[in-house]
Symmetry: C2
Subunit: 148 residues, 2 copies
């Protein structure tokens, strides 16, 4: 996988970004990741390929990618940490298990017509929305914790 690091040279150029070892590596890791990742997650994975990479570089690159609209940055539930994912080709949402934290991708977005209606009633121009669903998966349903 490490030899693939330069695969994204053209991709980076297309987005007006200089190609560096660290940026290529991070794009590789983001492509490999199947779920949201924190900066720290990516840092530890990155270290396996490049022992000297620093966490601040991860943060700087993620901020850059976010500005260039290559990735999504968000926060899940009430977590303090931000999480990142490659911007999916199609608009998409997530269903997250509160037990085991597994994440299911949902390709269908039920909000298109709702947004149109809202635009009409509020006179807003709606550009985006954030939708995540939370529940318990088949395996975790039977172990739903009590409120404290």
């Amino acid at each position: 996988m490490v030899e693939d690091n330069l695969d994204y040279k053209e991709y980076l150029k297309e987005h007006g970004l200089k190609s560096t070892k660290q940026r290529n590596l991070l794009l590789t890791l983001l492509h490999e990741a199947s779920t949201f990742a924190t900066a720290e997650d990516l840092y530890f994975k990155a270290k396996q390929a490049d022992d000297t990479i620093s966490l601040s570089t991860i943060y700087r690159i993620l901020e850059l990618f976010n500005k260039k609209n290559i990735i999504n940055k968000t926060t899940l539930l009430e977590e303090a940490k931000a999480v990142f994912e490659l911007k999916p080709i199609a608009h998409r949402h997530h269903l997250i298990c509160l037990g085991c934290k597994k994440i299911i991708d949902i390709d269908h977005c039920p909000l298109e017509s709702f947004e149109k209606k809202l635009e009409a009633t509020t006179d807003f121009s709606i550009v985006d929305h954030k939708l995540e669903l939370y529940g318990y998966c088949k395996e975790c349903k039977n172990n739903i914790p009590k409120k404290s």
Copy 2:
């Protein structure tokens, strides 16, 4: 307003919470607030009524209210700070202007039937969702900032 601080004594008891000056004050402020507020927002407002209240008390009370399901805690967009609001009586979402940050309450939730469908296809038991919509209001539409 300050004299109203004890109005919530019964309310607190109902939720199994001891009534204190600080908790009453915070409930007053949360009721007065028309939008999401950060811990710091509430701290500054609280100081006007009680000069010696401390920020850690605000955090502790907010955490407590959140656990007791009296308030919602969430994060908007990519902001670092958490925001809080009294849990509205009816399930509700928000439309947020990216220009002036004004927040419009949306009473209708378009997701009920969608959740049912999802439960059937994924075998999840869905307990909650987070939906916020982002756009530009009538006044801000004409000043949409360019990407950097």
